[in-house]
């Protein structure tokens, strides 16, 4: 190990130069970050539990246990997280809610990353008037309180999970576009782009084949920052009663319902709030780890 923390190859047997991709370097750096690796493991456990848990557990998220209503956590009938005031199993509901929250998070992130990368790359590559027009639009959207627009969309078109995703995605790509544009500007002046242009590669192919792959570092970093924010926005909408509808649920809905009765049955808010907080905390740690691993300035 040298000073910068990058393991050096000690006396290879054959002296043929062995290339190491920057991605491999980054992976090694990430693996050395214990908090980040642990967060990945925890997040994967949560995700797997949300996906497969409801299939394996005996209770359904909308079935009522008439004998155990508002019951604290118990081993009876597998109500490990207790039941809500309608006698529905809170463990399964938390997992189902997690499905919705994580799915909305993943979907909205995917959409907004796609928009942001394309928007930023095109603006940065085109430059000039196109660039300033596109970035002016980003500036304008920045000043808009996006939650209000999401609320307006829900008001007009009714509560629909896909609309919630669309509304969240419509305002989450702005940071990404800015960062990608900045990075594109610096990539644009590299030799390989010049070479590609010299041999007559069309602009759109230069953007998608030469510029976008080299943007992946910043894109990964900003995606990891985006995910918790997106999950949070969905939860806020659900908390306000504007997200998914009963009997479907999400962490925001569960926290809201639990908060109403937390004096009498604290477990009803404790578990969903814990699940959400742990997820957000892990996402933040992973984001930090990725930034440290991928940001060339940190080396």
């Amino acid at each position: 190990m040298n000073e910068s923390g990058i393991p050096t190859v000690s006396a290879p047997v054959d002296f043929a130069p062995k290339g190491r991709s920057p991605w491999r370097d980054a992976r090694l750096r990430f693996q050395r970050n214990r908090a980040a690796v642990a967060s990945v493991v925890v997040l994967m456990i949560i995700a797997l539990a949300c996906v497969f848990g409801p299939m394996l557990l005996p209770n359904a998220y909308d079935s009522v246990d008439w004998d155990l209503m508002s019951h604290p956590p118990t081993r009876a009938n597998w109500h490990l997280f207790g039941t809500d005031e309608l006698g529905r199993d809170l463990l399964v509901r938390t997992l189902i809610g997690g499905r919705v929250s994580l799915m909305v998070g993943a979907l909205a992130t995917l959409v907004s990353v796609s928009i942001g990368v394309v928007w930023g790359a095109v603006a940065g590559f085109a430059g000039g008037r196109v660039d300033s027009l596109m970035m002016r639009i980003v500036d304008m959207a920045y000043a808009v309180p996006y939650l209000l627009i999401a609320i307006l969309v829900v008001t007009i078109f009714g509560r629909d999970i896909l609309l919630v995703v669309a509304a969240i995605a419509a305002f989450s790509w702005l940071d990404m576009a800015r960062v990608v544009r900045g990075q594109t500007l610096s990539i644009k002046s590299r030799e390989y782009v010049e070479a590609a242009r010299a041999i007559g590669v069309p602009t759109w192919r230069i953007i998608f084949q030469h510029v976008v792959p080299n943007l992946m570092g910043v894109v990964v970093i900003y995606t990891s920052i985006l995910v918790p924010g997106v999950i949070l926005t969905e939860s806020v909408l659900s908390f306000l009663g504007l997200g998914v509808q009963e009997p479907m649920t999400s962490w925001g809905v569960l926290i809201h319902d639990g908060a109403a009765v937390m004096g009498a049955s604290p477990w009803m808010i404790l578990f969903p709030a814990g699940a959400l907080s742990i997820t957000l905390y892990c996402a933040n740690f992973i984001g930090d780890g990725l930034r440290d691993a991928l940001d060339p300035k940190e080396r």
């Binding site: 307006l152 937390m262 959400l276």
Partner: protein
């Protein structure tokens, strides 16, 4: 300076116009009209009503009428609250929101800057660690978890304060909401202040000031504070916008009759005009707040010249 103000205003107006237009068109895409209600009226009356509200005109004319009303400060009539115009509703709700949100913002800035200064001057001390530990409280314990938590501690476990409600600006009902909104922002401001002050304190002019033999208090207060405050000022605009989210959550959690609860109620009642009016109002407020913050920033930073 005035040229700069003018240039910024020229960016602001299209923003507001774009939001109004998009929202208006979205509203127009909804099926049904305002007079399709249970109470059937005769065709002649319906035609009269539509004429009165310009609903018989082409879309672009209706839009221009709406814009005209907006410019004259008329947000239209509510769909659900009989006898109330959106203006009336806003007039009652806005002071409440401003009292809660404004107070919380001022406390958060003062407290955050203070904490940031202490943390920067005592790097790696206990208070520094506490600030850093709570640094991302807003992202891990969001307002809708922190709010119930505050109620659980200060209203249920310790029955000191009401768990919600409103009594004509009685301070008892304002403490918890303000505390919640302050907690959301204070750590962000503290962290930024700490970082920027540490950076400023290591710059050359501070070394010069110290070398002159000035006491630390004077170095910090007279020389370091102003440049260190710049990043804090620049973050106030975005912070205020993101606080709109927590303000909406706070108001609906504590049942405070402010703009936030109005908009949530409007959304669940599907009161189109009310929500549209509120969205436009808050957007305009947010955009102009951003403008003021930017101007203040330009005014504070001697490096920016127009």
């Amino acid at each position: 300076m005035w040229a700069y103000v003018l240039r910024r205003l020229l960016v602001t107006i299209p923003t507001v116009l774009a939001v109004v237009t998009i929202c208006y068109l979205m509203l127009h895409a909804t099926p049904g009209g305002p007079f399709d209600a249970e109470l059937k009226v005769s065709d002649a009356v319906l035609a009269n009503l539509q004429a009165k509200y310009h609903l018989d005109m082409p879309l672009w004319k209706q839009y221009l009428y709406y814009l005209n009303d907006l410019i004259h400060g008329d947000l239209g009539a509510s769909f659900r609250y009989a006898d109330w115009s959106v203006n009336d509703l806003v007039k009652r709700a806005l002071p409440v929101s401003l009292a809660i949100g404004g107070t919380a913002m001022v406390i958060a800035i003062v407290l955050g800057v203070g904490i940031g200064i202490v943390a920067a001057l005592r790097q790696n001390s206990a208070i520094d660690y506490i600030v850093m530990l709570f640094g991302n409280i807003g992202s891990v314990l969001p307002s809708f978890v922190l709010g119930p938590l505050l109620v659980l501690v200060f209203a249920i476990t310790l029955p000191w304060l009401p768990s919600g409600g409103w009594d004509d600006f009685a301070p008892r009902y304002m403490i918890l909401p303000i505390a919640l909104l302050t907690l959301i922002n204070v750590s962000t401001i503290g962290r930024i202040m700490r970082g920027s002050l540490i950076e400023v304190l290591s710059s050359n002019f501070i070394r010069t000031a110290r070398a002159k033999g000035l006491p630390t208090r004077v170095v910090v207060m007279r020389h370091a504070l102003r440049p260190a405050l710049l990043p804090v000022v620049s973050v106030i605009g975005p912070l205020a916008i993101s606080s709109i989210t927590s303000a909406i959550v706070t108001e609906s959690w504590f049942s405070i009759p402010g703009l936030g609860r109005l908009i949530v109620n409007g959304a669940s009642d599907r009161d189109y005009t009310l929500v549209l009016g509120l969205v436009i109002l808050v957007t305009v407020l947010a955009v102009f707040l951003n403008l003021i913050v930017d101007l203040a920033y330009a005014w504070l930073d001697p490096k920016i010249r127009y």
